[in-house]
Amino acid sequence: MPPPEPDDLRHLGERIDEAGRRRTQGSKSAPPTSLDIAARFGTELMAAILMGAALGWGIDWAFDHWSHLQTRPWGMVVMFVLGAAAGIRNVMRAAQEINAKMAGKDVEK
């Protein structure tokens, strides 16, 4: 290996400085692929709707089991709608995160 040129050393110094800046400022990681985005949105929406419906079913079951109030099927109806709303909220939030990441990428360029 030949002795390092002063030029090489300066170049190395610049790279070390750059790495240090990255460390303190924080770098944006790679933007997500479309496959990743599709999987993310799909599961966010689906999970919220299923969770809402399951909660509603649970509420109806609990009222049925422990009290004489007949809530069925209203608990499930209401919670299903709320679950769908939560799913859309999840997707909006995921989209905001991805947008922020993409925007950061553009600024770097």
């Binding site: 990681s29 993310r40 689906m46 969770m51 709320l82 939560a86 995160e97």
Partner: protein, 253 residues
């Protein structure tokens, strides 16, 4: 003939000991447990052996270990900032476990640990529990304002339940995403592999045609390599995002 594409996901007991017994339930050492041990052993060996001879100019192995360290450290830094690095061991462990499980699953005759909802849901539960405990430790009861967006009070009646449901879906979506991706990919591979065998056994012109699904398997396998990495990355980055919300309450608004 073993043509069932779901057969690969079967959890089989390998051995059992009379002493392994909790409240009348026998505890079996299954193929799933075996492969979790294999994955953990592989990660430990990989990380200790590659950095044991710590060189200034890294060898290939050492640079792989350093790259994975840097990758996770940068991810935490960019999503959670400086104080998020306290969670580095936790997130690095999660990332490496999911990554190695996904890649080990791609080796023929192995068992894919992350294709079991029990495993992925357990991992997601750990993440959410860590988030909740961190949030309450750092902010006390003020952590509950996570469920209260900025809105007029009459909208809050509607928005708070929505936010609560949205929060409850996190462990579900986190675990289902990883599990479904692994399950779908491996099932697809098995289905196309059975096409190769069926066409090959058909004889005549059809045997020649069996090359087509074989080529497709190669392509899907390449895609699965990408998915294996991507899902580990997504799992880790979502963990970072959730923990960030617990650490810096409402900072993002």
């Amino acid at each position: 003939m073993a043509m069932n594409p779901m057969e690969q996901f079967e959890v089989k007991p390998l051995f059992q000991h009379p002493l392994l017994n909790i409240a009348g339930h026998d505890i079996y050492f299954t193929n799933q447990a075996l492969f979790m041990c294999v994955v953990v052993a592989a990660i430990s060996l990989f990380l200790t052996l590659t950095v044991s001879k710590n060189r200034l100019v890294p060898t290939r192995g050492q640079s792989m270990a350093e790259l994975s360290y840097e990758f996770v450290a940068n991810m935490i830094h960019s999503t959670m900032g400086e104080d998020g690095l306290a969670f580095f061991p936790f997130i690095f462990t999660l990332f490496m476990f999911v990554l190695f499980s996904n890649f080990f699953g791609l080796v023929p005759w192995t068992f894919t640990v992350t294709s079991q909802i029990a495993i992925t849901f357990a991992l997601a539960s750990i993440v959410i529990l860590t988030m909740v405990i961190t949030g309450f430790m750092k902010h006390g009861l003020r952590f509950l304002t996570l469920f209260v967006p900025k809105a007029p009070w009459y909208l809050l009646l509607l928005l708070v339940p929505i936010e609560v449901i949205s929060f409850l879906t996190r462990p579900v979506s986190l675990s289902v995403r990883l599990f479904a991706n692994m399950l779908a990919g491996h099932t697809l591979l098995a289905v196309f592999a059975s096409f190769v065998i069926l066409l090959g056994a058909a004889g005549g012109v059809l045997s020649v045609l069996s090359i087509a699904p074989l080529l497709l398997i190669v392509a899907i396998f390449a895609l699965e390599m990408l998915v294996a990495f991507l899902q580990a990355y997504v799992f880790a980055i979502l963990t970072c995002i959730y923990l960030n919300e617990a650490l810096h309450l409402h900072d993002h608004q």
